[in-house]
Subunit: 580 residues, 2 copies
């Protein structure tokens, strides 16, 4: 965790904002930001080591390394600082370590695995920070599952001591859980009895949906502070295997060897080093190599402009030379960072407007090249990363607009931004004094499968739910120029104002968004963006998180006599027993 | 709407409790309760008329007929009093009117269809009442859809004037929407721009999932106060057909004739009159003919004991004599009423414990008889009603326990109560001084399909998610005696204490439940009860309702300067623009 700060004092002030937010301390000038970029040489909380196809990621939280003052991260409890490093490690394991087919997730502390999210931190944190923190931690756990599901990189949890709350939820995100059988080590989800909140990092959903723990056992388990240990934990499917303490890592390694045999990870490849992203944050501007953000604070909008590739893939690199600077990977990293930055550091910016600039043909060339070469592990990873970033975008509590203007390149992968948007506007015709041809959009094969939403549908399937004939028709238009009126007719864009109406219409769309309740918009967007089926991921982000957000507002947890506030004081919470 | 009250003053006080709840006014003695029983002769808000296979249900809200003082139900806006009558009408249309294949839902007011839930009522209502009110209204709209899906009884909305918010959500629950094309009549969901809340009666989900309105159009629609009218409403799939005012009902009747041709409703049958339920409410006891409720206020528990049938179906009635007093229908009605009563009038009772008494063989006989005769419309309706009541049970915000004791009859349909429970306890062996044989449970075919949960799974499929071999094994045990240890081994019950442990174990289970936060339990149970797939119903009760519950707690809607509080005052809300 690094703080980007022009002055250390401002930095602390801003970080405390995350906890005790002061709406006047923020934004312009020298205020610090929460930075999601880090690298293993700077980790304070994790040890990452390698042994051929097996990596070991050991949690070793520095008690004094929290992102904010006011609490100590005892017993491997975590806060955002710890989770930012975890996310970094998970990403690097995908990209920098193609040889790794299994990651053993364990603890470097004697006799404790992880005590979960730090309770004092949660008690101090503002509502918005709690919600954002949980969302980010959820996304990282989903990324762990994505590694197994799509990249053949499996995670094994080796539980060496008590594993509680968020600690067990982290284990639940792995593919296999080995636990020490010593009469003391247990797994538990004590959030409800101790804190009057839910396990908020997917625990409830993963219990019944992923591990298929019987719901009555899950009910007992989640209402029991002490958790479950030993044979009962196996019988109830809470863990997969027990091991004596002396054989814990050996047991995990033996399972790792199984995974290695069936993994599609290459043993001899070398991954690109994920070098620091060249980012510059100024008061109302953030610039990246391929992406710029302009903040319109008055209207509460961020204009995010993505630059298309400068050259086609065949011209600049052969597959083996592909490194972290190549356009699709660089774009994914920059957009990922920008989303996280805006989520945590710019809460008043409620609308994100996407623009693109560049040559759509080059985007289409990249899309084709990526899909032609997806047997290559790094290309596969890059596509999967783009998919995850687009998912992160859609679970962001921000209104998403896309403006398709002259000189834009909403093609294939970049068209997904417009399809992800709550509304898109495409300029009909040209503009006086501008030489560019009218805007066009283009479908590529990227729009028909590789970049699925959290609900398992492509954005086109979600948009045209059940309309298979129309989807076939669209697939037939792959590669064709689609002008604004055709796009509107096909339902690919929302509105197509001409130059006479454009400025007023898009300005009013942004301004009216700023007049609405931010909370109601969040609920509306979370409901409308996901039509059709639900998945583990959507159940976590919608059902579970929405209930948790509600509980995070209820006096029984956050009121003066609520359990989360009183935890550790020795006082007993006083509950309103009325059921709602 | 009738108020059961021993004194009118106490009645008013208690009803106001729903709005401005006073925890000390309740419970014992002469306090009034919200009563869900009514009948057409007492309707104040609806006109129900019949013309052969077509019924017309016309909304005609009495402005002064609200359930609580403090607001007028102008413009066909509704509150709980209106919706209790609607639910009654929907039920009677199923049971008393087999000849009705189509219900035209319209308004008896000139030039207004329905303005939705009364805003002043919502502004005055306590959080718990708002949530409970929305849940009940949702259940009634789901029952409207269930009529079409399973009984061949279709609803058509004939929109004769502005149709806003909950008014449009009611129309969305029908199968076909005809709207007057007069340049003025529109459909709208103005909750977000006007009140900073969501359309909370399924509107968002039905827009994108049921009617497959494109999400960007839905976004525009839900953020536009004035709504959409005329041809655009058809093009966007918000309504199905337009008609001139003079031809509105004719158009609806023409569609009704289509439905009548394909309906499986019998034209010549006569339905049983749903006579008033013989219910007696005393301070801590509620008694029905087949069901008794004992309230343990100290422990916050209701003990609900269901009596099995006294005789088998073949002995007492032939099919054509089947009326409202026959056991499965009577049970469904009584349990339905008891759930609603406890939800609204006993908020401090957080745990519902189910007991049964009777002869399991007779329950099995009824189950077999019902399934053998399900081609009969009334038997089909009865099974469908049992299904809906069990669904209502599971979306109740109460902990559900089942105690399987000596003399119980947890068989088939009644076993569903134990399978719906968050935990079940089955006595292992006998008890000293009691002559009964050890408790047994029995599976019938009712456990394998007819009584599916909201998520579309049987309770056994939900309990044993993906375990098809085990489900087959259970199916093979249909009709067999299953004792406590076998039941535990099969995973059908949670715990099997013997007589030495029973009293302590069940007491502690109830008492510990009462020590937990009521809100956290609600979120936990809502998450654990529904494994696997999601449906329109679960999306409404989980995703949408959970977001709405959160928003109902947020200052932007319910704070002093929130939109819901300020509506109608002429003052503009002041929003916290931070996105959470």
């Amino acid at each position: 965790m690094r703080l980007t700060s022009l002055s250390p004092e401002a930095g602390l002030a801003r970080i405390r904002c995350g906890m005790r937010y002061n709406t006047h301390v923020n934004a312009n000038g020298g205020a610090a930001v929460i930075d999601f970029q880090t690298s293993p040489d700077r980790y304070r909380h994790w040890q990452l080591s390698f042994d051929g196809p097996i990596a070991t990621l050991a949690m070793d939280v520095d008690e004094n390394g929290g992102i904010s003052p006011g609490y100590e991260l005892k017993l491997n409890s975590y806060d955002l600082a710890v989770d930012i490093e975890l996310y970094d490690a998970v990403q690097r394991l995908r990209f920098e370590h193609p040889e790794v087919s299994t990651v053993i997730l364990t603890s470097a502390k004697e006799r404790v695995f992880c005590a979960g999210a730090n309770i004092k931190m949660l008690g101090l944190a503002e509502h918005g920070f709690k919600v954002n923190f949980c969302k980010f931690t959820n996304e990282t756990r989903n990324a762990i599952e994505d590694a197994a599901a799509n990249s053949g990189q499996h995670y094994i949890a080796a539980i060496n001591g008590p594993c509680a709350g968020g600690g067990y939820e982290l284990a639940l995100a792995t593919d296999y859980i080995v636990m020490v059988d010593d009469g003391n080590t247990s797994v538990s989800l004590p959030e409800l009895p101790l804190l009057a909140v839910l396990p908020g990092t997917g625990g409830l959903t993963r219990l019944v949906d992923k591990r298929r723990v019987r719901s009555d056992r899950a009910d007992f388990f989640c209402t029991t502070e002490e958790g479950v240990r030993g044979q009962r934990a196996v019988e109830w499917r809470l863990v997969d295997e027990l091991a004596p303490r002396s054989r814990l890592l050996e047991t995990a390694r033996s399972k790792a060897a199984e995974y290695a045999q069936s993994s599609s990870r290459p043993c001899n490849a070398h991954g690109p080093l994920l070098a620091p992203i060249g980012r510059r944050i100024e008061s109302d501007h953030i610039s990246y190599p391929n992406l710029g953000v302009e903040l319109d604070r008055e209207r509460g909008a961020a204009h995010i402009t993505i630059g298309g590739p400068q050259t086609g893939p065949e011209d600049v690199l052969r597959l083996e030379q592909c490194d972290e600077s190549f356009w699709p990977l660089a774009l994914a990293r920059e957009l990922d960072d920008a989303i996280l930055h805006l989520r945590f550091n710019e809460e008043q910016i409620g609308t994100w407007v996407f623009h693109t600039e560049g040559d759509g043909q080059l985007v289409a060339d990249y899309d084709r090249w990526l899909l032609q070469n997806q047997d290559n592990w790094l290309i596969r990873e890059t596509i999967l990363y783009l998919k995850r970033v687009l998912k992160r975008l859609e679970v962001s509590s921000r209104s998403l607009f896309a403006f398709i203007e002259l000189g834009s390149c909403f093609t294939g992968t970049l068209l997904e931004l417009a399809l992800a948007a709550d509304r898109s506007f495409m300029l009909n015709g040209t503009r006086e004094g501008r030489e560019e041809q009218p805007a066009l959009i283009h479908l590529t094969r990227m729009n028909f499968g590789p970049l699925r939403k959290c609900n398992g549908l492509t954005r086109l399937e979600n948009r045209f739910l059940g309309e298979s004939a129309h989807l076939e028709r669209l697939e037939g238009l792959t590669g064709e120029d689609i002008d604004s009126e055709t796009a509107a007719g096909l339902g690919l864009v929302s509105f197509v104002p001409d130059e006479i109406d454009w400025d007023d219409e898009v300005r009013m769309a942004i301004e009216s968004r700023a007049t609405f309740s931010s909370d109601a918009l969040t609920g509306l967007e979370a409901s409308l963006r996901f039509a059709g089926p639900e998945t583990l991921e959507t159940k976590i982000f919608a059902r579970l998180s929405a209930w948790q957000n509600w509980i995070f507002q209820r006096p029984n947890s956050v009121g003066e006599t609520g359990a989360l506030q009183l935890y550790g004081t020795g006082k007993r919470p006083i509950f309103d027993r009325r059921r709602v």
